[in-house]
Symmetry: C2
Subunit: 460 residues, 2 copies
């Protein structure tokens, strides 16, 4: 076991002395309704962006606002450690997911409430909580010394939840500014707080919209039932052919490019899964994958296809006896190394298109996407974070993977020429993307300490 350093004591004191302002600032951050996918919230997203910029300036960083086709990206830097020190680029995002179904929230999603140390709000974890401790870590390092231990760059974007189109389009022209040795992605998590772990990979993603049309208007299910074939039924038929009963995706070629994990990599990853704990936490069975793979193998190293939304006809209160003119679905695939997002999405859409029966038309299009990311357990960046975690949490760090996606990361790593480290303090029951999302003040502390220590180790 590694002994806690003096530096760690100093960082810990900083946190304890700043508790009130940390809580106040975090709550301010959470109050911005920075929902990137919905145009109605555009001004809220911009206000949130401005507030983050202010915080960065206060800490002592130089900031730039990079305008994009969508919401702006914040670039901040402090590169005075000298050429002998490494350059570290940290990635976060200030945008959040939509909040519906609103009625399932116990408290309003943009009015943070603290209960037993957990703060409930949209974005509490994903990603405002994890962005916030990065800012506090830098503040804590400046409190300890006049300079930072590394040359530091931050990229905080406003469109992660919609696929990072804006920042992705300008990455190449910003390549020089983004140049770094390490890319720290503070948007991941661990399975449990009593076992520090780092994430060696996250899956890629491709998202799709499908709309089926069978008539020029909604039709009465009495007069037309038996005449017109219901678009809901046709859509259901199509979608039911996407997966078999054993969890395999039936789209021809879907698995062709999957790059298998090496035995060495596999041996270093902890795939332990507790089904009864999962059942208790989510009220759900963990039997969603291909039957020949274990739960975490299915969630980390295998691709998936999920229908994220389906809608057709009347779903409001009461009953409406309609045969809908249109029915639609939103579909996403999580991808593993080897799979190209666009290619995979087109395979799925072509498979659906080919099966549309006579008299129906389909509008099928790709939305955002990005490839999978993998790190080596032997890389210098991963090792530094593993050491920092072990010091902060007083236990050796293990390695896991993540089923989620941060689509821009692969390109950001490529353009910046850096080695990726996926880190974070998310936990499985944080309810990200769902009602009652939460994150704890204590995890703000752990995140702050870990980032600060890891930067010190990288700068040694």
């Amino acid at each position: 076991m590694i002994a806690p350093s003096t530096s760690l004591d100093h960082l810990e004191s900083f946190f304890q002395s700043q508790q009130k302002s940390i809580r106040d600032d975090f709550f301010k951050f959470l109050r911005f309704k920075s929902i990137s996918t919905d145009p109605d919230y555009k001004s809220d997203v911009l206000s949130c962006c401005s507030w983050v910029e202010e915080q960065l300036k206060k800490i002592g960083l130089e900031t730039e606002r990079w305008e994009t086709s969508g919401h702006p990206t914040i670039f901040a830097s402090h590169c005075k450690a000298g050429p002998g020190k490494p350059t570290v680029l940290i990635y976060n995002h200030y945008d959040v997911q939509p909040v519906d179904p609103l009625e399932l929230w116990d408290s309003p999603p943009f009015e943070p409430v603290e209960k037993d140390g957990e703060v409930f709000a949209r974005g509490a974890q994903d990603n405002k909580g994890q962005c916030f401790y990065v800012l506090k870590a830098i503040e804590a390092l400046f409190d300890q010394e006049d300079d930072l231990p590394v040359n530091l760059k931050l990229v905080i974007e406003g469109e992660e939840e919609t696929g990072s189109a804006g920042i992705s389009a300008i990455l190449k022209e910003r390549a020089k500014q983004l140049k770094a040795d390490y890319l720290i992605v503070a948007d991941a998590g661990m399975q449990r707080l009593d076992q520090p772990s780092l994430t060696l990979g996250c899956r890629g993603i491709i998202t799709m919209h499908v709309e089926l049309e069978g008539a020029n208007s909604d039709l009465h299910s009495g007069s037309h039932g038996g005449l017109h074939r219901n678009t809901n039924h046709v859509l259901i038929d199509l979608l039911s052919r996407l997966r078999d009963a054993k969890g395999h995706i039936l789209v021809p070629g879907f698995y062709d490019d999957v790059k298998e994990l090496s035995d060495d990599e596999r041996s270093k990853i902890d795939f332990t899964f507790d089904s009864s704990e999962y059942r208790e936490m989510f009220g759900a069975e963990a039997n969603g994958g291909e039957e020949e793979f274990s739960p975490f193998e299915s969630a980390w190293i295998r691709p998936t296809l999920e229908i994220n939304g389906i809608s057709g006809g009347y779903s409001g209160p009461g009953f409406k006896t309609v045969i809908p003119a249109k029915a639609s679905a939103k579909i996403s695939c999580r991808l593993v190394p080897g799979q190209d997002p666009e290619k995979t999405g087109i395979l799925v859409l072509d498979y659906l298109k080919k099966q549309v029966p006579k008299g129906f038309s389909i509008e099928a299009k790709l939305d955002h996407g990005g490839p999978a990311v993998r790190s080596s357990p032997n890389s210098k960046g991963v090792k530094a974070f593993a050491q920092a975690y072990s010091e902060v949490m007083n236990k050796p760090c293990r390695f896991t993977m993540e089923g989620g996606s941060i689509p821009v990361i692969a390109s950001l790593a490529d353009v910046s020429g850096s080695e990726v480290v996926l880190m974070g303090f998310g936990l499985p029951d944080d309810k990200i993307h769902a009602p009652n999302e939460h994150f704890s003040i204590d995890r703000i502390r752990l995140g702050m300490l870990s980032i600060a220590r890891a930067l010190q180790i990288l700068g040694e």
Copy 2:
């Protein structure tokens, strides 16, 4: 061909002289947002009820408001023709369907607009237009004579679009008041205006709600994709097993009680169907039935199962990578003589329940329903209306059927001890239950003339 009577000329003159007030009153009727299924419109439903009562009083009828568990039923009568004359009960409803999707309306649904003689508004046909010409027919008869040719009773309810639960529950206690020889249901239609036709039957209905739950919260499709089996997929799997590729409903026992049409009945019904006209009118193929039945056989004399609504996960703008905790469907079956609504609904729900996989729970319940109704082409009531149609439209009347349902009619016929006549001037492209519903002023005229003449014939 039957020669138009002098009476018909008089009725026609009445219509011509009243054109402005007919249009004004009809538009007033259409402006009430009497959506019965949505509690938000309760006061609009009541205002509409009061307005109809006022009209009936103005015409010279005695009215009563029958309170029910839901929206009130209006009962009106004028029984001074004497015991030698038959008693005729006319059924209509003043409530309407919801209006969504609102964005597909070319003009606001409750601000009637007339274009080339067609009036566009929710309820323009179903059933305000058809109710309105009944009122005008009575007015026209009073304009001709001091008394009516028959003992007349009207029932105008406010919950037809939600299954008539309120009136159904009080029918028995009102049996004496409802006693009649003929029950005229002015809520049907014909295939084309150049071929007068009467409807010899309408199908029954049973409606159902199904909700599937697989987790205690919406889950992130990245972290949980491959772990949890998506509720959307499970629902789609279940629903895809309801019908086979040949249009047969796969629920065991579903067809067991179907009473086949006799050869005599079948020979009197015009099943002629024009697929290309249907395609042109609705932008849809007429291939929705069981493959061994023709389109109108499928729509009139065979039961159906339709998914009227399906909903699960995120369907708003943009994308949300969620695995929904719940997914739901609204299902309805149209029924033919012999099939009991409740029994059939339970068959469907039990079939679904039995197939729910481990880890998922289903909430499945019946909503409203009612059995099918059939009339004989040889009954006195049907013959009187056939004659009236032929006089008014100057062409012999034919017989068809209707795929839709008026759930309360079977009970109303039973309680009142009357012979049913299903009549009306609906046309297939009136877009009832859909955006841009419409009905013409000329059909108000035809309906008014036909009702008035038929009552005269029945009173002869």
